[in-house]
Amino acid sequence: MLINPASTHQDDLWLERHIVDPSQDNRQPIILETKQLHVYYGDNEAIYEGDLKFAEHQISALIGPSGSGKSTFLRSLNRMNDGVARVAGQILYRGVDINRPEIDVYEMRRRIGMVFQRPNPFSKSIYDNITFALKRRGVTDKKTLDEVVETSLKQAAIWDEVKDQLNKSALALSGGQQQRLCIARAIAVKPDILLLDEPASALDPVSTGKLEETLTALKSNYTIIIVTHNMQQAARISDYTAFFNMGRALEYDKTSQIFTSPKVQLTNNYVAGDFG
């Protein structure tokens, strides 16, 4: 479902859009903002209208049909698409445009972490999974590392399940545990923003429930942007929701608004289950 920019751009302009600025109705400052974002895979433009603002300490959900560009958008935010896609436009992180070649992507990604659809723990022990990135950054003090392991695992709500087996291989954990370990691993480097791409899609309902609790609890410390296919999930955990369709963010508003009285017809259809 790729957009051909030349032919459809004009025709699609009739489409209504409704995008809010979360800092207006919410006292939190904007932490991340995209401006004139365009993403191209080769000659194909996968995102051509994705200007959104994300407020601090909020959970924002990205929903939309398959192929609408949610992952593409999300992965552009911390430049995981470098080398895969060409990303034009600005991505302002606390006012600094991070979509510039001079930006040190490694420091930026430390601040804007990401968790993926399929749990991807390293084939190392649970302990080493958490401490690996810190060690690479020169943290060697055993006590500091121990502390980080404990707090990260606690924040990711998996501490109680693994505290007695920190030296066990992470691959021996269940899928749900692995995913929470990946969240713990991501927050161990003290990021500012967490991006999650369908983190629950490979999990069973019980694990999904736990993961959602974890995310809700993390909100007070982190800003979270999550892609999900699960409408109930978006409704349960997010404060704001963006609806993507064919490479554009069509509607962005408070989650309650999106799910009760969307302003854009296509959003309404999608939320009501009429397509997608």
């Binding site: 995981m80 690479r136 691959l171 021996a172």
Partner: protein, 294 residues
């Protein structure tokens, strides 16, 4: 002809051919082991060769083979690892990369005599290393690099991309991710490749006859200072290996027991290569288990 009948005939023929191949291997192995076993003894494995009289052993050649193998691996593994990493992780799909791949393919298909002659020209003559372990190790490195690089590249490619993304998303560089996560995850496969190529190196002779030389001067196994001329570790001494020894005594050997010695040496060579093969399988399976669970 009736299709049913021709089907029957064809399939029977295929059974015969397949059995023949098994038979060939069985005969080869049987012949090597049976004719070689009587010669094998502790004395044979440890004592030096004799040029004109019978009763010589293969001790020095055996040591040379292992020393050369280790030295070759020490030189070629880092290069192959670096090249494999670049090819799998960094190389873009463009004409430079395809040129590189073509040249690696060319190197892997060059006759080993040609590689040996090149080693002779460069190391023995130009660099004045003479017939030496070092010249031999460099020649074997050229011989080894293409296959080892390819097997490392394949091992890396088999590690899922999610592992790479996991590292990058933590703010690690690609290099750190590859060296600390991808390479360890690929280690069982890499090690299997290394051991299999070790078997190939161990049996190689053509690349060595003009580089490591065809003589095995006496060694003083009490002297491990690599700078001393009779030290086993001295990399500048000529070093006939086991494989070269077999060739040498069969081409121009004049000792009375040349045949018994070659039989014994062949048995040792084949048993070593078999051992490398089994070890590769064993280690591959063992490490794989350790890395995936437990």
């Amino acid at each position: 002809m009736n299709p049913k009948l021709s089907n029957r005939i064809a399939i029977t023929t295929l059974y015969v051919i397949a059995s023949l191949i098994v038979l060939i291997l069985a005969a080869l192995l049987g012949y090597i082991i049976i004719s070689g076993l009587p010669a094998l003894s502790w004395h044979f494995l440890t004592s030096p060769a004799r040029a004109f009289t019978s009763g010589g052993g293969i001790g020095i050649q055996l040591f040379n083979s292992f020393y050369l193998l280790i030295l070759t691996m020490l030189i070629s593994f880092p290069i192959a690892l670096g090249a494999g990493i670049f090819l799998n992780e960094y190389a873009k799909q463009n004409w430079v990369t395809s040129l590189v791949r073509t040249s690696i393919e060319i190197l892997s298909s060059l006759p080993s005599v040609v590689v040996g002659l090149f080693g002779f020209l460069i190391f023995v003559v130009r660099f004045n290393f003479g017939f030496s372990i070092l010249s031999g190790a460099f020649a074997l490195t050229f011989f080894n690099l293409p296959l080892l690089t390819r097997s490392i590249e394949e091992a890396l490619a088999a590690v899922p991309d999610e592992q790479r993304e996991g590292g990058l998303a933590l703010g690690l560089s690609k290099w750190e991710t590859v060296t600390h996560i991808i390479v360890p995850a690929a280690l069982p496969t890499i090690l299997t490749g290394v051991i299999l190529s070790a078997g190939r190196i161990f049996g190689e002779a053509a690349a060595l006859i003009f580089t490591a030389g065809q003589s095995a001067p006496a060694l003083d196994f009490g002297d491990w200072n690599p700078f001393n001329i009779s030290s086993p570790l001295n990399p500048m001494r000529p070093a006939e290996t086991l494989a070269v020894h077999i060739w040498k005594i069969n081409s121009e050997g004049i000792m009375p027991d040349a045949k018994a010695i070659s039989s014994g040496a062949s048995a040792v060579l084949v048993i070593s290569v078999l051992a490398f093969n089994l070890l590769a399988r064993f280690i591959g399976r063992r490490l794989f288990k350790r890395f995936t669970a437990g």
